[in-house]
Amino acid sequence: MPARHPWRWAGTALVLILLAQFAHGLATNPGWDWSTFTGYFFEKSVLQALLLTVELTLAGAVLGFLGGIPLAAMRLSRNPVLAAVSWTYIWVFRSVPLIVQLLFWANLGYLYDKLQVGIPFGPGWSFSTSSLVSAFGAALLGLSLHEAAFAGEIIRSGLLSVDQGQHEAAAALGLPRRRQFLRIVLPQAMRAILPNAANLLVNLLKSTSIVYVLAIGELFYQVQVVYGRNGRVVPLLMVATVWYVVLTALLSILQYYVERHFARGAVRTLPPTPFQRLKAAIRR
């Protein structure tokens, strides 16, 4: 006779009732205005804005992680100057709110009206700042610099999580330095880096909505433009919300498979993927 759990049943019933009530509200409350929602969900200007959001996210992530790698390497280096510079960069760019930083970059021309490339204290070529840093450029610059600070810390934490014995074994075998890093340390560090990196990426996806302050036509800016015109705030916010949810879901699926790849050898047997589980259930 297995133990009875009456409170489990009561809790389940309560949660189901609340969920049903919420679903009923979603379907019947005219405020949600689902016809407007469906009308705009695949609307051309919304899709174009969505594309821009995806571009900003991908470019920001790639540039952010490219910047994070040297930052992590510098902070871990034995050179005190490099370590201090990296520490300071991370301190500053983690401290400044993204929105403040974006406005700063957008107004760079106010601070330096010309930028010059050349030999330090020697001759060079100069450009007008506002021609060089467009609104999109300022947004991408701000996002990437912000991401790099966090990515650097995530990569560093991953590298630190690798057991000292692994470094020793690689050194004792005389593996070349590059090979020690790429073949032995990095793949093991990836296990710790990936979940945090995925978190950062999702966060970045949502942070792109902040660049609306620079009047860049990404998803959030675009729905604001539309509801500014027709006054249907809630359904249009839902358009943006659902798109962010869909993109995050895609990223989560990607994360699952990438993490699985790097779990080789870490667990005795890999658990089946949801897809494999489904196939097994159908066959049974």
Binding site: D163, G165, Q166, E168, A169, A170, A171, A172, L173, G174, L175, P176, R177, R179, R183, I184, P187, Q188, F262, R264, G265, A266, V267, R268
Partner: protein, 251 residues
């Protein structure tokens, strides 16, 4: 031949090695005994420059390890040269330190391919043969965590052998193993000894020292207290400290 002369090493104010002089002939087995904290592991790690020594010289087959001598000054070698020297000296760790994300075969083949730039397919073939030599021919494609401790240590020994080293250093190779798994690793060590491999083994396995060692060394407080053939050091120790240690280990 391995020669250590006047080797000193301190960690901060703690002097771990206080002048070690030691000669190990090629093709012989040397077992180092001693209480914990006596400097055994540090001595072993200084032979392949995993530990930087403060004074003295370490020579393997006449080659100065970790340094280059100019006049009477020593200059530490660059990392690349040190790595080259290490590739000629096998090292087996107490905790195996196998690479968990690589299969047993990949673990064994890694160093010959990337450190010695050997041909890939030949190396894999040889790695398979080495796994066979330590009794693990059927475990080539298995990841370390799927193996028992004794099997992992045998893979680690195969990994050290893959470099065809001049000598192999063993740092308490059986200390992390369950008692019933110690025998299988010691069997491999005995086979290696019988095949004429130059070995220096830090261990607490007195039985192994008695039957396999050519020389037994007893260390205490950073010095070599006595050394000689096992029959003499183990059965007729001259020093009180050796006697006290042996009575504790054998009881």
């Amino acid at each position: 031949m391995i020669e250590l002369t006047g080797v000193h090493k301190s960690f901060g104010t703690l002097e771990v090695l206080r002048g070690i002089d030691l000669t190990v002939e090629s093709g012989t087995v040397t077992v180092i005994l001693g209480p914990s904290g006596s400097g055994k592991s540090t001595l072993l790690r200084s032979i392949n420059h995993l530990e930087k020594i403060d004074r003295g010289r370490v020579r393997v087959d006449g080659e100065l390890i970790g340094y280059r001598q100019a006049g009477d000054k020593l200059h530490e070698l660059g990392e690349r040269q040190i790595l080259k020297q290490r590739a000629k000296i096998g090292f087996v760790f107490q905790n195996f330190n196998l690479f968990p994300h690589l299969t047993a075969l990949e673990n064994v083949a890694e160093a010959p391919i990337s450190a010695l730039r050997k041909n890939k397919s030949e190396t894999y073939e040889r790695a398979r043969a080495l796994l066979g030599r330590v009794g693990l021919a059927d475990k080539a494609d298995v990841y370390p965590r799927q193996l028992s401790g004794g099997q992992q240590q045998r893979v680690a020994i195969a990994r050290a052998l893959a470099l065809e080293p001049r000598l192999i250093l063993f740092d308490e190779p059986t200390s992390a193993l369950d008692p019933e798994l110690v025998g299988e690793v010691l069997d491999v060590l005995r086979d290696l000894a019988a095949a004429g491999t130059t070995m220096i083994v830090v261990t607490h396995e007195i039985g192994f020292a008695r039957e396999a060692a050519d020389t037994v060394i007893f260390m205490d407080e950073g010095r070599i207290v006595e050394q000689g053939p096992p029959a003499r050091v183990l059965d007729n120790p001259r020093h009180d400290r050796t006697r006290t240690f042996l009575s504790k280990v054998l009881s």
